[in-house]
C-alpha cells in the first residue's frame, strides 16, 4: 500500500466541483503518489465504477440526486474490500453535527489543498465506515437495497420490491423479475421504510402498492385464513392470524 499510488474516486453531482477536486488532487500528487480512477455524478454511478475498478478512497459529496453520499457509504460495505470514504460538503448540513460526534471524516468545500493532503496522508490508517457507525448518522430511507453477487454490488430500487421475506439467515427480496438474497434484519428494514411496507406475517413485509387484494381460504379441516394477492407475481402470501386486521384496514383504504 505504501508504494502503490493511492487509487481515488471522485463523486459529486456538480461537474465544476469534480473538476476542482481533480485540480487539487493534481496539486497533491507531487507530495503523495495517487491516481484518480474516475468520476461519478451520483452514488449509483460510483458503485457501478467500483464494480470494475477498485479504489482505496472515495471522496463523496453528501447531497446528490439518485443516491446521496450516506446511502453510498452503506452500499460500499457490500464490496469485498470496501474503500475508505471521506465526505465533502459545501455547507454544514445537519449531517455534519453527527459526523463530528461519531468521528466521521469530511472535508468542507471549497477544499483547501493543505487540508486535502492531510486527509489523503491519513487514508492508510483509516478504516471504512462501519455499519454500526452509519446507523447513527441521520439519514433518509435508502432508495436501493444492495446485495453482493459474484463480488459485485447489485442495486435493487426500493420501488421495485414486491415483498421481503425472512428465511433462516437471509431475507428474500422479490421483484417482478426475480429474487435476491439480502443479509439484513427484517425489523430494521421495517423501521427504515415505514409506510412503504406492511407486515402480513412475522417473517414477511409486503409493499403496500403491490397489494392487489385479499382472498379467504378454508382448509379441509375447516381452518380459515387470508392470503394477500400481489401485482406482478402470481404467488399469494399467507396473512398470519395476528396480522389479520390489515385485511380490513387496507380493504377500507382501497374502498375510500
Amino acid at each position: 500500500m505504501s508504494d502503490a499510488p493511492l487509487k481515488l474516486l471522485i463523486v459529486d453531482d456538480e461537474a465544476p466541483a469534480r473538476r476542482r477536486l481533480r485540480e487539487l488532487l493534481d496539486d497533491c500528487s507531487s507530495a503523495l503518489p495517487l491516481v484518480v480512477i474516475g468520476e461519478a455524478a451520483s452514488g449509483r454511478e460510483a458503485l457501478g465504477l467500483l464494480g470494475s475498478t477498485p479504489a482505496d478512497l472515495v471522496l463523496s459529496d453528501i447531497h446528490m440526486p439518485d443516491m446521496d453520499g450516506i446511502e453510498l457509504a452503506r452500499h460500499l460495505l457490500k464490496l469485498s474490500v470496501p474503500p475508505v470514504l471521506i465526505f465533502t460538503t459545501a455547507y454544514h448540513e445537519h449531517a455534519i453535527d453527527a459526523f463530528e460526534v461519531h468521528a466521521v471524516d469530511y472535508l468542507v468545500k471549497p477544499v483547501r489543498v493543505q487540508r486535502l493532503l492531510t486527509a489523503l496522508q491519513k487514508v492508510p490508517r483509516l478504516k471504512p465506515l462501519s455499519g454500526a457507525k452509519l446507523d447513527k448518522l441521520p439519514a433518509a430511507a435508502r432508495r436501493f437495497l444492495s446485495v453482493t453477487e459474484r463480488s459485485r454490488v447489485v442495486l435493487v430500487p426500493i420501488e421495485e420490491v414486491i415483498y421481503l421475506k425472512a428465511e433462516l439467515k437471509y431475507i428474500t427480496i422479490r421483484t417482478a423479475e426475480r429474487e435476491y438474497l439480502l443479509e439484513e434484519s427484517l425489523t430494521k428494514l421495517e423501521e427504515e421504510f415505514g409506510q412503504r411496507f406492511v407486515r402480513v406475517h412475522r417473517n414477511c413485509l409486503v409493499a403496500r402498492e403491490a397489494i392487489r387484494g385479499f382472498e379467504r381460504h378454508v382448509s379441509a379441516e375447516g381452518d380459515a385464513h387470508w392470503e394477500v394477492l400481489l401485482r406482478g407475481v402470481a404467488e399469494a402470501l399467507p396473512v398470519s392470524r395476528r396480522q389479520q386486521f390489515i385485511v380490513r384496514e387496507i380493504g377500507r383504504e382501497d374502498a375510500s
Binding site: 453531482d13 456538480e14 465544476p16 476542482r20 455524478a41 440526486p65 459545501a90 468545500k109 471549497p110 433518509a140
Partner: protein, 345 residues
C-alpha cells in the same frame, strides 16, 4: 444599526386611498360606528337592527360619495404634506356630507329630517378617528417595513448556494478565467442587492435582471440539468415591486425542483400585465422529497408578508401542486415607477 434604521424612518403619510384594503377598512369602520351610534340612541335592543338598517340607508350614500371623491382626489391628496392632507380630507368630508344632507332634506329624502350639521359632525368625527387609526397602523407597521429588509436577508440565499457557487468559480479559475470573472461579477451583484436597503419598491426589470444573474450562477453549477424558460414579452418593466420578490422563489425552485434529480428539469417564468395587475407565475418540476419543505414555507411566508406590507389586500401569493409541477402565482397591483417617484417628492 438601530440608529441607521431610525434616521431613515419615513415621515407620516396619508393612507393609500386607492388601495382596496384601505377602502374596505373605511367602509367597515364607518358602518360599525353607525351601529355604535344606534346602540347608544335606542332604548330597546330589539329595535336596534331595524334602526341600524334605516340609518345605513341614509349613511351609505354619504359614505360612498366620500370614498369615491377621496379615490378620485387620491393622487393629489397624497402629494400634499401630511398635515395639509389631513386638513383637506377632514374639510372635504364635512363639506360633502353637509351639502348632501341639505340636498336630501330639500328633496324630502331624509326620514329623520335631521340637522345637516349633525351629519357633518358625525362625518368629521368618523374621518378623524379613521385618519388617527391609519396613522397608528402605519406607525405600527413601519418597524415591520424596516425589518422587512432584514427578513428579506434571512429568507434569501442558502449558504449551501453561496459555498457551492464559490467552489464552482474556483473550478473555472485555471482554465476559463474569463468565465470566472463573469461569475464573480454576478455573485457581487447578487449580494449587493441582498445587502442594500430593501424597504422601498424597485422596478420589476431590476428584479428580473437579478434573477437572470442568479440563474446563470446556478447554471454554472448544475450545467444542463437546469433549463430556464423566460416569458417576459408582456412584462411591465417599470412596475414597482418589493425587492427580492422572485429570486427566493427561484432559489426554492432550483433547490426542490432541479437539484434532487439527475435528469434535466425546466423552470418556467411567466411575467405579464393584465387588467392593471402584474402577474408572475413560476413553475418547476416537483420532486417528491418529504423532508425539505420547512425552508420553502419560510421563504413563501416572508414574501407573502412583504407583499401585504406594501400592497395590503391588493397582492397575493398562491402556490399549487399540479401533477408533476409546482406552481407559484404572484399577483400585484401595477404601479409604474415614474408616477410613484412623483408621489415621494
Amino acid at each position: 444599526m438601530r440608529a441607521i434604521v431610525n434616521q431613515k424612518s419615513l415621515p407620516p403619510r396619508l393612507p393609500e386611498l386607492r388601495n382596496l384594503g384601505t377602502v374596505l377598512r373605511i367602509l367597515v369602520a364607518v358602518n360599525a360606528l353607525a351601529l355604535l351610534a344606534v346602540l347608544a340612541r335606542e332604548q330597546h335592543l330589539a329595535a336596534v337592527p331595524s334602526a341600524w338598517v334605516e340609518t345605513a340607508a341614509l349613511l351609505e350614500p354619504h359614505l360612498l360619495l366620500n370614498v369615491l371623491l377621496l379615490y378620485m382626489l387620491a393622487p393629489w391628496l397624497e402629494r400634499l404634506p401630511y398635515r395639509l392632507g389631513v386638513m383637506c380630507i377632514l374639510a372635504l368630508t364635512a363639506i360633502v356630507t353637509f351639502s348632501l344632507s341639505v340636498a336630501f332634506s330639500k328633496l324630502g329624502l331624509d326620514p329623520f329630517a335631521a340637522d345637516p350639521l349633525r351629519h357633518a359632525a358625525f362625518a368629521l368625527l368618523a374621518a378623524g378617528a379613521l385618519l388617527f387609526y391609519f396613522h397608528l397602523r402605519a406607525k405600527a407597521l413601519s418597524p415591520a417595513i424596516s425589518e422587512a429588509r432584514l427578513q428579506a436577508l434571512q429568507a434569501r440565499i442558502r449558504p449551501h448556494f453561496l459555498f457551492n457557487s464559490i467552489n464552482a468559480v474556483l473550478s473555472l479559475m485555471r482554465r476559463e478565467p474569463r468565465r470566472a470573472e463573469t461569475a464573480l461579477e454576478d455573485l457581487a451583484d447578487l449580494f449587493r442587492v441582498l445587502m442594500r436597503d430593501n424597504r422601498q419598491l424597485a422596478p420589476l426589470a431590476d428584479e428580473v435582471e437579478l434573477c437572470r444573474q442568479y440563474l446563470d450562477l446556478e447554471k454554472l453549477r448544475l450545467g444542463e440539468r437546469l433549463v430556464v424558460e423566460w416569458h417576459t414579452e408582456n412584462m411591465p418593466r417599470d412596475a414597482l415591486v418589493p425587492p427580492l420578490v422572485l429570486q427566493p422563489l427561484l432559489e426554492n425552485a432550483v433547490y426542490h425542483g432541479i437539484e434532487p434529480s439527475s435528469a434535466p428539469g425546466v423552470i418556467a417564468i411567466n411575467i405579464f400585465l393584465r387588467r392593471g395587475e402584474v402577474h408572475a407565475i413560476l413553475r418547476n418540476p416537483y420532486q417528491f422529497d418529504g423532508n425539505h419543505h420547512a425552508g420553502n414555507k419560510m421563504a413563501m411566508d416572508n414574501i407573502r408578508e412583504r407583499l401585504a406590507l406594501h400592497f395590503d389586500a391588493e397582492a397575493s401569493l398562491e402556490s399549487k401542486l399540479n401533477r408533476e409541477n409546482y406552481e407559484v402565482h404572484i399577483r400585484m397591483p401595477y404601479r409604474p415607477a415614474v408616477e410613484a417617484q412623483q408621489e415621494h417628492v
